[in-house]
């Protein structure tokens, strides 16, 4: 048996170990859903690289790591730990804190719903608000991706956020997912549901951070529904440990004239796969997907985006930037699909990448599938290096080579950070990006190459 097949068996058997325990902790309707989820996972298994969606990402490491998906007691993280982890951001109010996949009530201050926002743990909402969460959890199409199915089997908690009709909370809703020092060898399967009702407007941040320097796996699924005229900024800041596995799916359904903007910042993980699927399900919906992934050392960062233009007059804008250094590997796979009746669609997609070492690599595949004839669509990607002329210009003004390289790399990243409208979230993201790039070992200086070896200019390379 291959290691991928063995791993599938292991996860299925682990489910059997804890099925009764899971069932006892949740309402009856959830048990068959978990069962169908694990059955679906058993069918799909761990994808091999023959699967187009996994062509450039090997799951061997995650299959070989003997990880335990069964729910673990969550705890072992104090407020002091959080303060140390979050540094300058520690004073920001957190709506909910999850530790190893479970809601840590002692770290989650109670929040009033006076501003039209209801935030509870999913575990709590399963019983009390099952009419609201059940239709979302029962979405069968989500099970077509193996790790969503796996999440469906093992999920037991997450955030349920409801921004009620017309509500416009002034402050962003910040959710924190922490891997505790006891996360070693475990899988956390958080499941988040976010509903922004008619005419409401909000910002939600999902931040993944780690107090565990060892191997663990976060396998998160976040479902978002935007009702008519609703507006949401979603900020995902992923700073898992560099030994962790991190999979995250964000699934978005947009109703008429709704506006969705996502800002996905992927910095951590030995192997990280961030996936976002947006379906413009009604006329006049707009989405903007911004992303930045930075991979250094031996990191592997896989970024998948899908925009389904299902109805007419939809607009999508997508800008994903990649920075790859050392021996890191990056993947960008972006699909924009315009359905036959989605006339007057406007879609743009662009994935520029910056390679800051000779051994880093990016595989990028922006794809358009157009089934309608009256549309405006464009897509593209570039791979470039730091501009030698710009580096020389900075150095000729007395700025050290290493500092100049960092300045230009940060400048490349800054466009994505600056697009975040909420100042506190933008500042968090900027600090994390800066910290990440300052840790990076700056390799040999390409400026010291001979005259005939000049690398292509970043903006021109195609």
């Amino acid at each position: 048996m291959t290691s991928l097949a063995a791993a599938r068996e292991r996860y299925v058997s682990r489910f059997g170990d804890c099925e009764a325990q899971l069932a006892s902790a949740s309402p009856g309707w959830l048990a068959p859903l978990r069962r169908s989820s694990i059955d679906r996972f058993a069918e799909l298994g761990f994808p091999t690289r023959k699967n187009e969606a996994w062509k450039y990402t090997s799951l061997a490491a995650i299959a070989d790591a003997d990880l335990d998906p069964r729910p673990a007691p969550c705890g072992g993280v104090s407020r002091a730990d959080l303060r140390a982890l979050l540094g300058d951001d520690a004073s920001e109010p957190l709506a909910l804190v999850f530790v190893d996949g479970g809601c840590a009530r002692e770290l989650s201050p109670a929040r009033s719903s006076a501003d039209g926002v209801l935030i509870t743990s999913l575990a709590g909402a399963l019983g009390a608000q099952s009419d609201q969460v059940r239709p979302l959890l029962e979405r069968a199409d989500l099970l077509d991706r193996p790790f969503n199915a796996l999440n469906g089997a093992f999920q037991r908690d997450g955030a349920f956020v409801r921004v009620t009709a017309g509500a416009r909370p002034a402050e962003p809703i910040q959710l924190l997912f922490v891997a505790s020092p006891h996360a070693t060898g475990r899988v956390a399967s958080p499941r988040n549901l976010i509903r922004v009702e008619r005419g409401a407007k909000a910002a939600v941040s999902l931040r993944f951070a780690s107090l565990c320097g060892d191997v663990y796996w976060t396998n998160a699924v976040t479902q978002i529904a935007l009702e008519e005229g609703a507006e949401l900024d979603l900020i995902v800041l992923q700073s898992e440990s560099d030994r962790a596995f991190h999979f995250s799916l964000v699934d978005v359904r947009q109703a008429r004239d709704s506006r969705f903007r996502s800002h996905q910042i992927a910095l951590g993980g030995a192997l990280a796969r961030g996936e976002i699927c947006v379906r413009l399900d009604a006329p006049g919906a707009e989405c903007a997907l911004n992303g930045l992934f930075v991979a250094l050392g031996e990191q592997h960062s896989d970024n998948q985006t899908t925009v389904e233009h299902a109805r007419p007059h939809g607009t999508s804008r997508e800008l994903y930037k990649g920075i790859l250094g050392d021996r890191a590997r990056g993947v960008f796979n972006g699909l924009v699909r315009v359905h036959p009746d989605a006339q007057r669609t406007s879609a743009r997609q662009f994935n520029p990448n910056l390679l800051i070492s000779d051994d880093a690599q990016i595989n990028t595949k922006p794809t358009l599938e157009i089934g309608a004839d009256d549309v405006q669509c464009s897509h593209g990607s570039t791979v470039g290096r730091l501009d030698d002329d710009a580096l020389f210009y900075l150095r000729a003004r007395g700025i050290d080579a290493a500092a100049a390289r960092r300045m230009l790399t940060l400048a490349f990243a800054s466009e994505i950070a600056l697009a975040i409208p909420q100042p506190v979230l933008r500042a968090q993201v900027e600090r994390q990006i800066t910290a990440k790039l300052e840790r990076s070992p700056l390799e040999r200086d390409p400026l010291d190459r001979g005259p005939l070896e000049r690398s292509p200019r970043g903006r021109e390379a195609a």
Partner: protein, 259 residues
């Protein structure tokens, strides 16, 4: 170090760029407090000389030496040269999206100050200094908050170079055709920037195609560069002569070229 050590001493300089031998035995001595103009036809090596002095990695020195204030300039990285007071005003200033002009100039100034053992300036102090200098070079403050040179007009880019010159106050300023493409007002600004720095302990090399700038920045010496060497040197009157007669009368063909 005695007072007689020149600011710059170039001996038998040979350099290659773009696969071709451009400088072929150039000698030039610039004393403290002097302004030297370097003129010459296109392709004679003027910009290559400027780039060698600033340390552009794509230009390869194959022979010769350059002493800057008595030290081996060619052994220094570009940033070290800058920190020791050498400044090149670029012929083609580079656009750097995402880096603000103010941030860039503050970093440059603080690098130089740190090298001189002076305290770094904070944002407020820097802004005060920058405002003073902006007046001197008639610089639009809005450009300070934009990305470095991004979307600047040709004239704005050149003014930006001169603003940096004014802020950094180098010991040796090298202007690489800073005057080309400028109207008379902008030319005046460039001249003001250079003239404000004239002092017994500072020098400048003004590389230009035209005599025009030299009406405002009056040089102590004028050199004609041809085929990678100084072909002729003289006083300021040489610039006028060149303006009238062009370069043809000098018979600058490489007489003994290796062919």
């Amino acid at each position: 170090m005695s007072e007689r050590v020149p600011m710059l001493e170039i001996r038998n300089l040979h350099a290659r760029a773009g696969g071709a031998q451009i400088l072929k035995g150039l000698d030039l001595v610039v004393g403290s407090g002097e302004v030297h103009a370097i003129m010459g036809p296109n392709g004679s090596g003027k910009s290559t000389l400027a780039n060698v002095l600033a340390g552009r990695p794509s230009v390869e020195v194959t022979e010769g030496s350059v002493l800057y204030q008595g030290r081996d300039l060619l052994a220094l990285a570009p940033e070290e040269r800058a920190k020791q007071g050498l400044f090149l005003a670029f012929q083609y200033p580079v656009e750097i999206p995402g880096v603000s002009n103010a941030y860039f100039m503050k970093a440059a100034l603080n690098a130089a100050r740190a090298a001189r053992g002076e305290a770094e300036l904070d944002g407020m102090d820097f802004l005060e200094l920058a405002r003073r200098k902006m007046k001197l070079v008639d610089f639009d403050e809005a450009l300070l908050n934009r990305a470095v040179n991004e979307g600047f007009s040709g004239g704005e880019k050149k003014r930006n170079e001169i603003l940096q010159l004014a802020i950094l106050e180098p010991r040796l300023a090298i202007l690489d055709e800073t005057d080309s493409g400028l109207d008379i007002d902008a030319l005046q600004v460039v001249a003001n920037g250079v003239n404000a720095l004239r002092a017994p302990d500072r020098s400048a090399i003004v590389i230009t195609h035209y005599q025009r700038l030299l009406d405002y920045v009056v040089p102590d010496f004028v050199h004609v560069l041809a085929d990678g060497r100084i072909a002729l040197s003289g006083g300021r009157e040489l610039a006028h002569e060149l303006e009238k007669k062009g370069y043809g009368w000098l018979e600058l063909e490489p007489a003994g070229a290796a062919q």
